[in-house]
Symmetry: C2
Subunit: 355 residues, 2 copies
C-alpha cells in the first residue's frame, strides 16, 4: 500500500453542466502524481490540486515523445454508488506499454491503488445523469532533460479526471468510417499494441482528412500489406456475419482494447462464434456486396459501442444495416453499459466498487 | 521580418567546461519562443531567458505526442566568426514534418530568421575549441488541452541552445552497430521521414538493448520486408563498395538527413557513383563476406561522420576495414567539418554567416 500524501485545494471548482461539457476539456479538482528516479524507484505519491506541469524544454517527453497513457471511467449507479470497470486491465496494459517504450515498470496493483484513491477523493465529480461518467487519464512520461537518446532516468506518472456527458445524448447512433489507404498507423514490430502518444500523433492527419470528408473516423489497415483491417482511431472493430463475429487478431499492431476483450467474452457466452483473425478489407467489401455483413461496430471505453452505418472502402461507400443500429450492437451496448452503470449484475468480476 | 521581443535575463550563466559538458544537458541563457493559435496564426515571437515550460496535463503534446523537432549547430571559425550550416534545409524539413503531423505550417524563412536571431544573441555561447559547437534544438508542439483527438488549435515553437564538445575528442573513431531484427522504427505511410518524437520513442528499447550488448547504436530495417536497410538511430548510413557509394533511397520511412544530402553532392563532385536505392541487408552481408565493402559510415549533424568498424547482421559480427577509419570516411569528415568550421571555403552556398 502506498502512503499517499494529500494536498488540499484552496477552493473547489463548480461542476460543469454535464449536458454541454466538451470531452476532455474540463478537469476535476485534484490529480494524482508520483515521481520516478532510476536510483530511487517510484516516490512521493500524492494527490494535489489539478495544476499545470512544469517541464524543461529539453525534457525527453517534449523532444522524443517518450510517454504512454491510459483511459478509463468511473460510473455512478442509480442508487448513487461509484464503480469502475476492469481497472486491473488498464494497469496491465500500461505495464505492457511501458515495457515496449523502455519506460519504468509500474506494477498494476499500484496503478489500481492510485486510480481508486483518486476516485475516492473525486467522488462528487462523478455525474449522475444516465450514461455520463468521470473519465480518468493516467499518463506516464520521461521528464529528464537530455537530448542524447540515452533514455528515461526520471519519470512522472499522473492521473487527472474529466467529466464526460453521454456519448449518445439522443440514443445509440450510427457512425461513418473511412478506410485509410495512404497513411499507416502501426506495423508489427512497432508500437501499435502500446498506448503511446506517437500512435495518435501519426494518426491526426488522416483523422482530419476523414472529418473534412464528413466521416467520423478512420479505419486503419495493416502497414505491411495494406489490406488487413486493424482498428478505428480510438476503438477496435467487429463485423457480424450470421452467427459469427470477426475481429482483427492482436498481432502487435492493434491496441488490445478492454472493451473488445469484454465483448469477446460476452459474445462467446451468448453462443456466437468469435473469430479473431486477419481480416482482408477486400473480403469485407465482397461480403458487404453480397449483403452478408449484418452489423459492424467499433468498441472502446469512450463510446462503448459505436455502430458503423457507412463504411468507405477504396473510395466506395457501403451502407450497413440500412444505416441503422443493429440488434446485436444494441444488445452489447445494453449489456456493457448495464454492468458499468450497475443496472445489470456483474457476474464476471469486472466491477471495481469505489467506497 | 518578425518583430522579435527581447526579455533580458537577470544574470547570465557561467559557460561550462566544453571538454566535459554532456550533450544536451547544459543550456544557454536564452530561448526563442513563438505561439500559434488557429485563428491568430503565429504570434508573439520573443527571445526570453531559458526557462521551464508550463503545460496543462491534458495538453495534446503530453497525451498524444503531437510534436516535431529539428537539430542544427552554430560553429566558431578560427578567426572568431560564427556560422551555421544549411539552416534553410532544417526549416524546410520542419515544414514537411509539420505537414505530416497535421501541425501548423511555419514558413522556413521564419524558421531561419528565428534561428539566426537567437544565434546572434547567444554568440558568446558558441565555443572556440576545435570541433566544438553550439547545438540548436527547435521544437514545435501542440499545446491545447483536449483529449478528443480533434487536433492542434494552439501550438508553441521554441528553440533552445546547448553547447557541445568535440564528438571525437581523441580523433575520428569507429563505432559498432547492431542490425535490429525485432523492433521496427518506421514503415512507408508512417512518420519515418518526419522528425517527430514518436520515431524516437519507439526506438528507445532497441537502442537500450544494443547498448547493453556493447554496440553504440542500432541499424533499422524496413517495416514491410524486414530486410532493406533504413538508417541508424540518429544518422543515415552509407556503404562504399569500390568507386560506388550506396545509401538507402528516401522512400518515406527514412529521415532525409541534411548531412546525407550534402555528402551525396560532395561524393558526386569527387567522381563517385552514388546509388540511392533499396539495399538488402543480406546483400550487404554477402558483400562483407566477399570483402567488397571498403567502408561504412553513418552521417548526421551530431557526429558528421561516424565510421562503422563493426556491423552485427542477424547475430554475426562483420569487421569493416579492420575496424579502422577508412580514407573516404576521413576525407568526407574533413571536407564537411572544414566547411562547417570555416577552414575550407564554401563553394556550395551552404554556410549561413551569423553577424
Ligand atoms: C487506438 C485504440 N484502439 C482501441 C481502443 C479501445 O480500447 P479500450 O476498450 O480499452 O478503451 C482505444 C482506446 O480506448 C484506442 O485508443
Ligand atoms: C533518425 C535520424 N536519421 C538521420 C539523421 C541525420 O540528419 P541530419 O544530417 O539532418 O542531422 C538524424 C538526425 O540528425 C536522425 O535523427
Amino acid at each position: 500500500m502506498m502512503n499517499i500524501r494529500f494536498e488540499q485545494a484552496a477552493t473547489l471548482k463548480p461542476k460543469p453542466d454535464i449536458d454541454t461539457v466538451k470531452f476532455g476539456s474540463t478537469y476535476s479538482d485534484y490529480m494524482f502524481v508520483m515521481d520516478y528516479n532510476v536510483d530511487k524507484g517510484w516516490y512521493d505519491p500524492r494527490i494535489v490540486p489539478f495544476q499545470n506541469i512544469s517541464l524543461n524544454p529539453a525534457s525527453i517527453v517534449l523532444n522524443y515523445a517518450l510517454e504512454i497513457f491510459e483511459g478509463l471511467k468511473a460510473y455512478r449507479t442509480e442508487d448513487g454508488r461509484i464503480q469502475m470497470f476492469r481497472v486491473d486491465e488498464n494497469g496491465k496494459r500500461m505495464q505492457n506499454s511501458a515495457a515496449r517504450m523502455a519506460l519504468p515498470d509500474l506494477p498494476y496493483e499500484t496503478f489500481v491503488e492510485a486510480v481508486e484513491a483518486l476516485a475516492r477523493v473525486e467522488k462528487d465529480w462523478v455525474p449522475s445523469k444516465p450514461n455520463t461518467s468521470l473519465y480518468f487519464r493516467p499518463v506516464m512520461m520521461a521528464t529528464n532533460a537530455d537530448l542524447s537518446l540515452h533514455g528515461c532516468t526520471d519519470c512522472m506518472f499522473y492521473i487527472f479526471c474529466s467529466p464526460v456527458g453521454s456519448y449518445y445524448p439522443g440514443g445509440l447512433k450510427c457512425n461513418s468510417i473511412l478506410v485509410e489507404d495512404e497513411d499507416v498507423r502501426a506495423v508489427r514490430g512497432g508500437t501499435g499494441f502500446a498506448k503511446c502518444g506517437g500512435n495518435y500523433a501519426c494518426a491526426q492527419r488522416a483523422a482530419n482528412r476523414a472529418n473534412a470528408k464528413n466521416y467520423n473516423d478512420v479505419l486503419w489497415l495493416d502497414g505491411v500489406e495494406r489490406r488487413y483491417v486493424e482498428e478505428v482511431g480510438g476503438m477496435n472493430i467487429m463485423f457480424k456475419v450470421g452467427s459469427t463475429v470477426m475481429t482483427p487478431a492482436l498481432l502487435g499492431s492493434v491496441l488490445p482494447g478492454i472493451t473488445r476483450k469484454s465483448i469477446v467474452e460476452l459474445l462467446k457466452e451468448d453462443g456466437y462464434t468469435v473469430e479473431e483473425k486477419k481480416i482482408d478489407i477486400n473480403d469485407v467489401a465482397k461480403l458487404l456486396e453480397e449483403g452478408k455483413v449484418d452489423e459492424v461496430w467499433g468498441c472502446g471505453t469512450a463510446a462503448v459501442i459505436s455502430p458503423v452505418g457507412k463504411l468507405c472502402i477504396h473510395g466506395k461507400d457501403y451502407v450497413i444495416n440500412n444505416n441503422e443500429v443493429g440488434p446485436l450492437s444494441r444488445r452489447l451496448y445494453d449489456m456493457l453499459t448495464g454492468i458499468q452503470w450497475g443496472r445489470v449484475s456483474d457476474t464476471h468480476g469486472w466491477v471495481f466498487p469505489i467506497d
